[in-house]
Symmetry: C2
Subunit: 187 residues, 2 copies
């Protein structure tokens, strides 16, 4: 069986095994599967369940890993237009378009459902913080007044995610309004 072969030879194949596991979790989430367990994922991915039990402490840890990977991999460099307002507007637009895609909404909900304990570190948020800090750094070098990266997270990113998670409307105009507001704090 291919599952046993994959489990027995983690070396050169581990990348492909991991990709198959991630893809299977993604498929199951996309199908709105009711019960996503290690055996269900293992069957779909064609790997031995012990591979999963060995690598992740529980299924929620795996679901979060997949959700974070899906939510942070695309279009991830911060815009560099020469003005903080344009950078932030473009960035907020990209994020708004991205997180409102139905498959992203499903991932986001799956990640939040998996996250029952308080976390001190959220990889999705940290990626956005790094991008915000980069845009702020460039704006300061140009001598523009800038909010902090934390303020950009609180007042642009948080409301966008809040609207998506609460199933409220998110559009271009909303993203722009948030950017105008956060810049008004430092005017």
């Amino acid at each position: 069986m291919p599952s046993h072969a994959a489990a027995r030879r983690p070396g050169g194949r581990s990348g492909r095994v991991l990709a198959a596991i991630h893809a299977s979790v993604g498929e199951l989430m996309g199908e709105g599967a009711d019960k996503i367990t290690f055996p269900v994922i293992a069957e779909r991915a064609g790997v031995n369940p012990t591979t999963l039990y060995r690598r992740w402490s529980n299924v929620n840890a795996l679901l979060e890993e997949v959700a974070v990977a899906a939510l942070t991999r695309d279009g991830e460099s911060a815009p560099d237009t020469g003005s903080l307002e344009r950078d932030l507007t473009e960035w907020a637009d990209i994020i708004a378009r991205d997180i409102t895609r139905p498959e992203r909404v499903r991932y986001l909900r799956a990640m939040l459902a998996a996250r029952v304990e308080a976390v001190s570190h959220c990889p999705v948020t940290e990626t956005r913080r790094d991008q915000a800090a980069e845009m702020v750094r460039r704006a300061r070098e140009r001598g523009e007044p800038t909010p902090t990266a934390s303020q950009i997270l609180d007042h642009v990113i948080a409301p966008l995610y809040h609207h998506v998670v609460f199933a409220l409307r998110v559009d271009h105009e909303y993203a722009r309004r948030l950017v105008r507001d956060v810049l008004a704090m430092v005017r």
Copy 2:
């Protein structure tokens, strides 16, 4: 059986039947019950399942109703201290304390899990908007510069809920910082 009596006599008993249904849903959510279906709720509440099928189009509609009721019923009048900054600070503190209680977090997650379709109207948000509008109205009468109620929702309420939903830290200092930021927009 009491269930049949309740179902047959909706008049004087309908309030008590509704309360029993809400309480049962609350108990099941609190227990982290895996499958909350109409038959499960009906059994717990001691009512006939047809009562539920007749009143709610599906179980998610009932879960959302219960979650909204739980999230909006307590401590719901907006503070009136004579200054918008103090009003907002007190209000943000009350909300931060309320929505971080473990049973509230569970309700919030249950509500979001039930909300799979986009909504144009979110009763939790509308309650907060009414309170914000009331504080803004009083501040304007006193001649204070004020953000709009929408800005208060976007920049105080949204980040608080975002942190709770993402299981990030929410405390008094965070609530205060959000209020200072939204007031800085109009200074």
